[in-house]
């Protein structure tokens, strides 16, 4: 099976052609090794970093921005969002604070400080 993708590792946006045979991927069109890795991963187990916000319970109308510390499977983004939306946290919060231990396999960390 062949798939054509645009590499998103950097703004260069290389056009990749990925060939998958017997579960292993061969990538062409990449300008760097990261592109080959991306092409292979995107066709076998695509992942995304999810960024969102969480309501701060002990502040009025304050949101803390968050991200999954590592990428999660792309098909679990909706599930991750349900988990994130249900979350309530208390300030003070520092950048990097872990706000949830397991969101679809990743830690959820704060990306902005709340006094």
């Amino acid at each position: 099976m062949k798939r054509n993708l645009t590499c998103i590792i950097c703004p260069r946006g290389c056009s990749l052609e990925v060939t998958i045979e017997n579960g292993s991927a061969t990538v062409t069109g990449n300008a760097c090794p990261k592109g080959a890795q991306y092409g292979a991963d995107e066709c076998t187990h695509p992942t995304r970093t999810v960024t969102s916000t969480v309501r701060v319970a002990n502040r009025t109308d304050v949101m803390v921005s968050v991200k999954t510390a590592t990428p999660i499977p792309k098909d679990k983004m909706a599930q991750a969002m349900r988990q994130i939306r249900a979350l309530r946290v208390d300030a003070p919060i520092a950048i990097g604070d872990v706000l949830a231990e397991d969101v679809c396999g990743a830690k959820l960390v704060a990306t902005c400080p709340i006094q």
Binding site: T53, R55, D61, M63, R85
Partner: protein, 477 residues
Amino acid sequence: MVYDVGIIGAGVVGGMTARELTRYRLSVCLLERENDVACGASKANSGIVHGGFDPEPGSCKAQLNAPGVPLLFEAARQLHVPYRKNGSMVCAFSAQEEAVLDELFERGKQNGVPDLELLSGDEARALEPNLSPAVTRVLRAPSAGIVCPYALTIAAVGNAMDNGAALKTNFEVTAIEKADDCFTVTSSDGETVRCRYLVNCAGGYADRIAALAGDDFFRVIPRAGEYLLLDKAEGARVSHTIFQVPTSAGKGVLVSPTADGNLLVGPTATEVETPDAKQTTPDGLRAVMQLAPKSVPSVALRQVITSFTGVRASTAGGDFLLQASEKAPGLVHAAGIDSPGLSCCVSIARRLVELLQGAGLVCADNPDFNGERPDTHAFRKMDDDARDAWIQSHPDYGRIVCRCETVSEGEIRAAIRQNPPARDVDAVKRRTRSGMGRCQGGFCGPYVMQLISEETGIPLAEITKNGKDSRMVVGRL
């Protein structure tokens, strides 16, 4: 309670009428269907104070226009509303059009317009260098001017309220009954207001209000006019209001500075189905863009910051319809107030008071009346030292919320507190100019919503753009 006078419609005529009535010992209540005053034709028009040479001599418009101009400027001065006596020019481009100018000149003299003059094209260009070289002759009316129409309405209502008048917004009249010399006016929410006399200043809906009172004798013909508003960088393109002679091919459009320093071009004139038909159209905007450069070829139309449509409330006769109802004694109509309605708003208000007196209203002087309204733009007019001193005692004025128009938090809070109180984003915009600049509310919008919420207690999710269902957001995350 029973008010002495109820006024339906808080536009510029309703507002000025309320203000005139508070000069007397009278209780007055303004009824407005929208969430704020000045939401109809008073919001979206040219803002021109016409000299008065246009109306047919002897007409109601002719009687009220020229004498109304100094009254309007005096009111604007007392109410601290931005205005400028910049004068107007009507441009002719051919011998045929020059003949029209001669006619207008004669008419103007009959109507009592002061200081009218006919200028050659070159004489006019000496005063107004960006005028087209194709202009052959100009009728100049130095007495004409410009005023901010919604600021005038807001200030008139505010001043009336400061002098004791009441304002009920979101009061859409659905029934009018008269019994025992008293009108009972009912709103769509079932609220009632009782009053002995009633003034119909309902603009585009004046015919429906008349019909509710059993006095169904005229029709409002809504006519839409589309405009383009240009950046302040274009505000000095012309200093006069520049009209074109109406021709068989069309009415022509005006190019004018506004009282706030922008440049306005428009309007079109298209009959529409309802007074709410406030959409802009490709044809309308194209027509304005094509016609404006005829008189001022250098106008930079790419500097457009917004476009809008206003709907005139005309009537078939073409004249103002100011009269006491024959079928419902105590009711007075002010209908068909299209151009030059703004120019005549004070003289119309005074005519309406006379009509009410004729219908039996007793007007005893109110010794407490104060026609001056505090200047809501005092802060922006201060120099740096005065600002510094003011901020020391009013720190909210130190924080700028709208950067395009340099509007402070203090001014926005004041606009929400002062009469008539602002309750939505557009109401704050009309009072403070916050959101009226180049970014059109992109930066200040969220802050304005927060301030309205803080001041009024309305939850942020319920804040509207202009009342009713115009919510800014759909909910919390």
